[in-house]
Subunit: 296 residues, 2 copies
């Protein structure tokens, strides 16, 4: 696949890794972030220093890796929105976790400007992003996949083609987030329950990861607790947002999700303790506080 001209919006821990993976794959990459110093640092690194409006007409693909649906919509369709600056035939790859409804709406608005839209939420952390080894759950028209293929090849180890219309990728992402969010808090509840009866956290991890009670999240997050490392790989606040998206969608389709609701209440409790910016494993501190536990 030939070299493309790619603009990446959002140079956080995921976006910067994805932008670098695109550079390594031979694409010309412009990076943008609301933090001017971050934008400048990447411009220096990539050698591509133009402002978006100065290269918009040459851009093949815009990739969004910003924080939320509001930021994404603003970048695409705001006053200085990129969609009105792109040439017809250009493509958008939206990697932001948004609702299926928002994804369908964005795709429709892009189509009106002859811009392809790939609904492409991502899974995997910052390390995988930097390695170009993400998992991407993508849906969109055949044209959107074709336009996006070279970038997907550079960023992802696995691309699930979920369906041929926007929204389906975001749907399975929301299902995945529902489970991932539940599993982290469940790990915290079970570990705390055991600790209150004398169970050692390392024994918890050693044994449970070999048993039927294990989960991907347990194996990934329990070590944070054992090491006492709450520097945010993914923060408590992310779950207020992502489970909020899930429960808003659930309410809109009249779906009762009592387990997810119980879990969200725990993340809220942790955030109210001032832990919103800490790693999501810090939800265990809510249980520790309630039960007088000494965490490692």
């Amino acid at each position: 696949m030939s070299q493309q001209r790619v603009a990446v919006f959002g140079l956080g821990s995921m976006g910067i890794g994805m932008a670098r993976a695109l550079v390594r794959a031979g694409h010309a990459v412009w990076g943008f972030d609301i933090r001017a110093d971050v934008t400048e640092a990447f411009a220096e690194e990539s050698g591509n220093i133009e402002a978006f409006e100065d290269i918009a007409s040459q851009i093949d693909v815009v990739i969004l890796v910003v924080l939320n649906a509001t930021q994404a919509a603003n970048i695409l369709f705001g006053d200085q929105g990129v969609v009105q600056q792109l040439q017809p035939g250009a493509g958008v790859i939206n990697c932001v976790t948004i609702s299926p409804e928002d994804a369908r709406l964005a795709a429709s608005r892009c189509a009106n400007s002859n811009i392809t839209y790939l609904d492409a939420p991502i899974s995997g952390g910052a390390i995988k992003a930097g390695e170009g080894a993400l998992t991407i759950m993508a849906s969109g028209t055949p044209e959107a996949f074709k336009k996006s293929q070279a970038c997907l090849d550079a960023m992802a180890e696995t691309v699930f083609k979920i369906g041929d219309s926007a929204g389906q990728g975001s749907l399975i992402k929301s299902v995945n987030q529902m489970l991932a969010g539940i599993h982290i808090a469940a790990m915290a509840e079970a570990l705390s329950f055991g600790m209150k009866q004398g169970l050692d956290p390392q024994t918890f991890l050693d044994v449970i990861q070999k048993c039927a009670g294990t989960s991907w999240m347990l194996e990934n997050r329990a070590p944070h607790i054992i090491e006492g490392d709450y520097s945010p790989k993914s923060a408590v606040n992310i779950w207020l947002k992502d489970l909020g998206i899930v429960l808003d969608a659930a309410a809109s389709i009249d779906f009762e999700a009592p387990i997810t609701q119980a879990v969200l209440a725990q993340y809220k409790g942790a955030a109210e303790m001032g832990l919103g910016g800490e790693d999501d494993a810090a939800v265990v501190k809510l249980y520790a506080e309630q039960n007088g536990l000494n965490l490692p």
Copy 2:
């Protein structure tokens, strides 16, 4: 290790496999079940036809694989309890899921009769039991481990030595059950949430098992739903019992477990629909009923 004379109480799907694994390892095995025909069938298979009272004085190890704490206590300490019939120096291996408190009490009563007691809950299904490839989470005195070693070798692929007193094995088992029970119901909630928005169950499994939202239970139980097979590998009612044990223990130490409570309510709801005897994946039918979903 030399051949031992072993009595197995409880020849259900787990116990029969364990008894056969012991026979294959060269031990002399007597099997007992409240169902007379099951006891007779195993006696024919093993060639060991005596009633327990007739061979009690020669038995080295008694293994319990019955349904619950009441049955286990009755076999050990009831009117015709085995502990009073065994010779001093014999051993008990209790594989039943019971509370840590019950395990400590049973060990203490056995010690009074000079019988070793290994607190040895098991993980893994009937197939692993038959292969002698269970995971056993064991705790007990060094003497209890020594007495049990030959049987553990025959029955288990992995033996976690959790600690040197009874109760610690049952504690980690209860932590494992807490997580396993949560993960099955969470899978059902997430799958139903997706299905109500058009997600195909096979796509759910294909994608999520490769993503951060996966769990051992999701990968094991979601196929039951996809195949529409609710023949009980492990029944809904098991979770009423096991999560009941967990929440009783939680209450006794003043531990709030809101996620586990929300999950138990879902299994109760399924049982109230008459699904108690079906495979635990049938908890999805509660969501399907509430949301008008057509399951495979």
